[in-house]
């Protein structure tokens, strides 16, 4: 198992390097310099600024220096907000986004998982059709449509829940978490249904029934583990999707998280901010993919042994 983790970690390093490199050069070749907005800057000031942001160096040296900064956990200063660093912005936005993501993931896994398993136990009955139709709606109802609709219904017409902010008014975290999590709940419901259906048709389930175990034990002890492996493997990609989704949800609900900063930075063409956040988020996503891969492999004794032996 350790070997497996080691190999996967080693494989993640080139991926992260590719991300850093591509992002860095993309941002640097972008049309329009960082200061083109501010007109008539004194040459001395411009030179000083360029020196501060290392723009006076040849491109490759800038790249090497940037790698050096990253190695020390330094994402560089912001172009737009002099005096503020990317690290500070991440430090301010990350906890909010992380909390939002966690709730959304909880919504997705708990609701999706239960719905999928329940549907799989009685395929092609109402117990299957109802949650699966709901899941289909979830998939076809993107967050940027669901969010405003939820706001309209629960925030404005019914006036039950607050429609913006984060942690200011009680209950203001409910709508964003549901908006962000629902599509993934839908995916997970479909995945876990398919996984459970496959497992429950296996011969060893018949063995368990032949032992005289009650049906709930058959499902819980013998079915769940195999059936939920695809769900665990999906958690990595789901996390990436949740991060991207947070751009939209944080914008809709005006939540001061990383996603909103990122979108704002994109509009402001705050290149160091974009660069820093992209590198940071990408690394996070790569690591999460790694984690869910490892977890899925660990759940499968065959894979676990394969990497444990040699």
């Amino acid at each position: 198992m350790w070997r497996f983790i080691g190999i996967r970690l080693l494989q993640a390093i080139p991926v992260i390097l590719v991300v850093i490199t591509v992002t860095f050069f993309l941002v640097r070749v972008a049309p329009g310099g960082p200061f083109s907005a501010e007109k008539a800057v004194l040459p001395e000031v411009k030179a000083a600024l360029e020196a501060q942001y290392r723009l006076d160096l040849p491109l490759f040296q800038q790249y090497v220096a940037y790698l050096g900064d990253l190695a020390q956990g330094e994402f560089g200063p912001s172009f737009k907000y002099p005096g503020r660093s990317v690290n500070e912005l991440i430090g301010a936005g990350l906890p909010v986004t992380a909390e939002l993501g966690l709730y959304a993931l909880l919504v997705a896994v708990v609701i999706g998982g239960i719905a999928g398993v329940i549907a799989a136990l009685k395929p092609n009955t109402a117990q299957d059709y109802i949650p699966m139709t709901a899941a289909m709606i979830g998939i076809c109802m993107p967050s940027f449509l669901l969010g405003p609709l939820l706001v309209l219904v629960f925030g404005i017409y019914l006036d039950w829940l607050p429609v913006s902010g984060w942690g200011d008014i009680p209950g203001d975290k409910i709508l964003p978490a549901i908006t962000l999590g629902s599509a993934y709940a839908a995916y997970i419901a479909r995945l876990s249904r398919a996984g459970m259906l496959e497992v429950m048709s296996q011969d060893y389930i018949r063995t368990a029934r032949a032992k005289g175990l009650p049906e709930w034990q058959v499902v819980v002890k013998h079915g769940l583990r195999g059936g939920l492996i695809p769900v665990v493997a999906f958690l990595g990609p789901a996390f990436a999707g949740l991060l991207a989704g947070s751009f939209v949800v944080e914008t809709i609900f005006q939540i001061p998280g990383l996603g909103r900063f990122y979108v704002q930075a994109a509009f402001n063409r705050d290149y160091t901010m974009i660069l820093g956040t992209t590198v940071f988020l990408s690394t996070l996503i790569v690591l999460f993919n790694l984690l869910s891969d490892i977890l899925a492999a660990w759940m499968n004794p065959r894979l676990r042994a394969q990497f444990g032996e040699n």
Binding site: P31, I137, I139, L152, A266, L281, S282, I285
Partner: protein, 295 residues
Amino acid sequence: MTTEIITDIAEAEQGSSLWHDAWLRLRKNRLALAGGIILVAFSIIALLTPWIAPYAYDAQNLDLGATPPSAQHWLGTDIFGRDLLTQIMYGGRVSLAVGLIATSVALLIGVTWGAVAGYVGGKVDAVMMRLVDIMYALPFMIFIVLLMVVFGRNILLLFLAIGAVEWLTMARIMRSQVQQLRQQEFVEAAISLGLPPGTIIRRHLIPNALGPIIVYTTLTIPSVMLLEAFLSFLGLGIQPPQTSWGLLISYGAETMEEFPWLLIFPGLALTITLFSLNFLGDGLRDALDVRRSKD
């Protein structure tokens, strides 16, 4: 068995091909069939929009402003007094086009890549699929946002970028199909008959790999359309004066308190289309008996 001796194959009773069987199964699936019909209808409307749209695309009526659905404007008007139905029709052209073109890009790259990797095998396969693995691990969503920021909101670039993301899964599916089929005994039989590789691929591999590709293509289009709408909503996709459903939803969301129809109708258009595609895809999967590939 009949006892009569037939001397010409034209007299023999017609067999029922797998395609025919699949069609019979699909026809029984009402949801999938309804999805297919809706999609055909939407596509025809999209093609004919310039001729059948009730108003000109750029016709404004600032005095009128936003009005709810009425006899003149079936789905109401927006704050500039533009007919919403017209807007949705033109937006649908863009949304559907993005879905189709980006999926085609993905299909072309993915199928070729996967087929070559699967058929050649060995080291070539290892290198090609390793590359896919690495690209899989890249956070593309963020990359696309970045691309849009850096190079401006270029629709052509959007096609390419989305297509470039979606081809990865296509390549994996195609490769595992080809690999699986190559081990099938009927392909070995074809080799031992002495058929040239081109004929084997054309007659024995492609017809059998087609099912999963059709199914996956149907399911890729909605995810591409979602991606476009997502970017347009953030203001990073389609730009005015062009419009798309994502963009219309984004405008609608801004004014939904006063003019909810501006959010609801574009939302419905997108949701119905996605629904239809997904139901059709699921129906095709069942009808063509495509099992999940292990990869």
